[in-house]
Amino acid sequence: MIKMNIILFTVIVLIYLVVTLYLGYRGWKGTKNAEDYLVAGKKIHPWIMALSYGATFISTSAIVGFGGTAGVYGMGLLWLTFLNIFLGIFIAFVFYGKRTRKIGHNLGALTFPELLGKRFNSKFIQWFSGLVIFLGMPLYASVVLIGAARFVETTLGPIGMNYDIALMVLAIITAAYVVYGGLKGVIYTDALQGVIMFIGMIILLFMTYTQLGGITAAHQALTNMADKVPASAAKAGMTGWTTAPIFNSPWWWTLFSTIVLGVGIGVLAVPQLCVRFLTVKSNRELNRAVPMGGLFILMMTGVAFVVGALTNVYFFQQDGKISIQETVTAALPNGNSDSIIPIFINRALNGNEWFIYVFMLTLLAAAMSTLSSQFHVQGSALGRDIYETLTGRKGHNSILITRLGILLSIIIAVVLGYILPANIIARGTSVFFGLCAASFLSMYTLGLFWKRVTREGAIAGLVIGAVADVFLFVFMHSAESKPLGIAKMVLRRDTLLTEMPWPVVDPVVIALPLALVVTVVVSLMTTADKRQVEKSFKGV
């Protein structure tokens, strides 16, 4: 049973709040405006910068959601960590980052849709991209919230906390956080979160490996559990937690196309990650952030996925069950992968309550900083990218609509938190990342690296990528088309094509190459605006 030490919990919450408020105050005092922020920033070690980025961009989704998914799918998820480090840090910082920064500044773009729109001198691109983000992002924001609520539910369960209350309380705290700050001057607080997460994950990895007899012994024990794979999973193609699924099986496609590819490639075109390059002071700082960035991702997602897979060994040794069976409740007879990590941390670290509480607070803080940036991105998508661009009006109304957009996003995220099913965090994240990859990645990449790409090409790629991705989710990919039910209504069956592997091939596998081909072909048939290209690439 999970025990609860209320006094210790209260003390840790209070200490955490005092330290956070102090650091927040220090950061705020020295940085009243952008100029101070940059001057202060110049004195800050780039690793502190990298840590604070890391804490903002790694959220409960990666650790709780994908860690739990590793408990079900096994160590194959490490391919995602590899892509996150290689594409999401190395390629993104070294190649995308520098150009995004320079071109974004040349064009005076403040948001990601604005960058795309101005690069191609197209209002359509800006509002359509804003629309894709505004409609797609609530799902992602919601699963970050769900991840936090699952952790709180497990840790505070003994004092009567349940998921529904946790979700509501977190939503209220987040709303207050979004309104009162989470903006400039929080670099120390963010870095503190980053440091705690970093140390927390090292402790978690160390404790897990020690408890299971060392690195090789722990992996070997997991390898030896291949015969414990549930019959239903084995039928779908699962062969074990340290072996790849059977090639071309539903399990294989879900692991590699939805979880690894969707999120691993999408990371290059997700709006809140792309705009961060605009806030970096210089190319030198980008270079210097690379080592800490890579190490941070390795310690966050790498550890979460290894530990997530190894929870099977721990639970099996403890009570003869695999991880997903540990999460079975009366309401969820098939278990919930989103609860594997919270239950494991609470059980395996029993006796180290202080650490569990600190870790929970850190995860909550990380979730909140991520949520706050997600809500801002959605608000500005509605106010600045959609309303302002479509009506041509600036000022009071667009500000009002931006705020309305933020409020709306919070409400939608909470409502989705109540209605979304179990096992949703990783999938929800993947849907959003896949949508971004299909819609934006082609024109964003070509827009940065190929002067020959044209406005018409970009528009064609954007529309076809987005439409194809959504169409495939609704009519083809059975994991979404089945619960949505639209395909059933229109076609009288769950998916358009029923023969394997089509119902399990992730939409991004089809929509992204399609968008890329369309962008290139249409660009070759049209001519690029020379002045626009010169303006964009000035000094690149």
Binding site: A34, G76, L78, F86, F90, S282, N287, H376
Partner: protein, 65 residues
């Protein structure tokens, strides 16, 4: 061949690649630690201009106006 208790090369390969790609990041950062210094002052001025615009936008979103 079994590496660290994992038999499938597709899985231990990923484990090793994660570590190698992190090393790549670390080595790159160390080698380029001082590169780009000559343009940095100019870049910071440019960044400042951007930050001011962004601050205006955020103030409008959240301020009392």
């Amino acid at each position: 061949m079994s590496v660290l208790g994992i038999d499938d090369p597709w899985i231990w390969g990923a484990y090793v690649l994660c570590i190698l790609s992190t090393l790549l990041c670390i080595i790159y950062g160390i080698l380029k630690w001082n590169e780009g210094a000559e343009k940095e002052a100019e870049e910071i001025v440019e960044e400042l201009k951007w930050e001011k615009e962004e601050e205006k936008m955020e103030e409008q979103e959240l301020g009392d106006d």
